[in-house]
Symmetry: C2
Subunit: 206 residues, 2 copies
Amino acid sequence: MKLYDFPGAPNPRRVRMFLAEKDVSVELVNVDLAGGEHRSAEFLKKNPSAKIPVLELDDGTCIAESVAICRYIEAEHPLPNLFGATAVELGLVEMGNRHIELELLSQIGISWVNGPIVARMAAGRFSQIPEAKVQSDERVRSYYARLNKELEATQYVAASRFSIADITALIAIDFASAMVDLKPEPELAALWRWHKLVSSRPSAQA
Amino acid sequence: MKLYDFPGAPNPRRVRMFLAEKDVSVELVNVDLAGGEHRSAEFLKKNPSAKIPVLELDDGTCIAESVAICRYIEAEHPLPNLFGATAVELGLVEMGNRHIELELLSQIGISWVNGPIVARMAAGRFSQIPEAKVQSDERVRSYYARLNKELEATQYVAASRFSIADITALIAIDFASAMVDLKPEPELAALWRWHKLVSSRPSAQA
């Protein structure tokens, strides 16, 4: 198996951390995003969305989308369980993971594509909307406050135990802190308590 | 079980169609979105994201997010399988469903919240970004072309068989056609062939 990867990007890190939790090794192949390799005809056959990560199986089947890759891995390597073990847990972990993805990570993404680093990298390739970044920055800050409040009552993001929802939240917050100038405020104590706990797992180095 | 619902909204329809495929009945409870019931303290206890649908179990546990509700239902009622039966299918269905959600449905959502109907409904409650709608309209049109090309080679959206990815695509396209002025162009023959096929399922009436 090969994982098409890029160091520093949040979604491939999500998959690498998930694989590390499962103790599964794959060959990592760096895709030259700066050189536009993800938009080449050859790569579009692997993923028409022109995005990494992509997992290529030994028979050539390609699975794109971080969570789709993780679901495949979970089915092949069920333990430790990271998506939920009962029907209720499966629902609650999916809910927690989606809340983070759709209301935090996606807003961080809007701030990123409309921010200064992408302005330099993708100059002229698409038009940025500064007003959209103002709105998404505000939504990210507001989600941090919500997450902090939730983490005052529970140890982990979803279903009261470590799951893929914690991995998604960690890679989102670390990317926002390092690359988008959206580091959570220091006074969000419960969020930082959780961040320390999850960052201390060996998989967080993946 | 109760499903907090709203007629005409795309995501509750996704869950109703999934439940109909499984032949599972739930009590439907209409939430008064126009009156702001989804932002009431009582509703926020069920879903802090202030969104429908929410499935409330008999013990009071609440599962929000359409796909999380569907995963719970799939675990409780495995047949007919709608998320994939093997590891590879689980990965491919998740990929197909996510491509539709993240690259089509979410862009339809951006066009909707920045469009004329929401301008009237939510006047003054948040600021619209007309430029964002121009960008998302263009992305929706471009995704329709991609989907049409994919459906020239395959009968269904994901993993060569009916799955939740078809339900997501149907509710997205029907909402875009009826409420956002983003009906797919008539010349997209493969897309319309698929649309007719999936719309003819009894569950599409749910």
